[in-house]
Symmetry: C2
Subunit: 119 residues, 2 copies
């Protein structure tokens, strides 16, 4: 059991759209990620997903609207809901989701990361 | 589905040691709490518990040491591990734990909150 310093962990990687595992509890993972640009439309059939913005601005597009998240704002995307994260500038995000969650959900493409590093 | 602004939610309450529910996903709750003073020694037999410090300094005493958490640091206390949160000055914390978790774990006393408000 060790404490985790978010800034220190964020300094360890620079790759976009490649979540890193920084904690696990009750079958859920805590991940850090950096986003820039547009992700892909996807959904997670069996998993709710939480996006917590640590720095920057994250737009999450839904089929009927866009939610804009700033520092220290979060949203929980319920299972089954299509979404597409978009970041005009670099954004750092903390994710909470089950350890079964694939980053691209029901889509498999060049952004899919099936094995995540623990940092 | 609505985004949550942490500062706005923290402005809605001032009571110490009384976690408020601000989100739920995958059977887990996201809670906000303000701590000041000493809590009680306790453990959660079946639940891991995450403490994420939003502002202030939180000491978590364990039987063999103390961990000091500052802003944007977190720790995951594994199930079964006795701990006692202590905050010399006011601290704001985000908690992440199963929806079955009782704040005082295996102890029931004046600090026990068996029904939490959702804000």
């Amino acid at each position: 059991m060790e404490k985790v310093n978010i800034a220190q962990k964020l300094s360890l990687f620079s790759e976009f759209w490649s979540p890193k595992i920084v904690g696990e509890l009750n079958g859920q993972l805590v991940k850090l990620a950096k986003f820039k640009g547009e992700f892909v439309w996807h959904k997670h059939e069996g998993e709710d997903e939480m996006f917590y913005v640590l720095s920057g601005v994250l737009n999450i597009e839904f089929r009927d609207r866009v939610e804009t998240l700033r520092e220290n704002e979060f949203i929980i995307v319920p299972r089954g809901v299509e979404h597409k994260p978009v970041a005009t500038e670099e954004v750092s995000v903390m994710l909470f989701e089950p350890n079964t969650t694939l980053n691209t959900g029901d889509q498999v493409n060049e952004k899919t990361r099936s094995s995540l590093d623990k940092i």
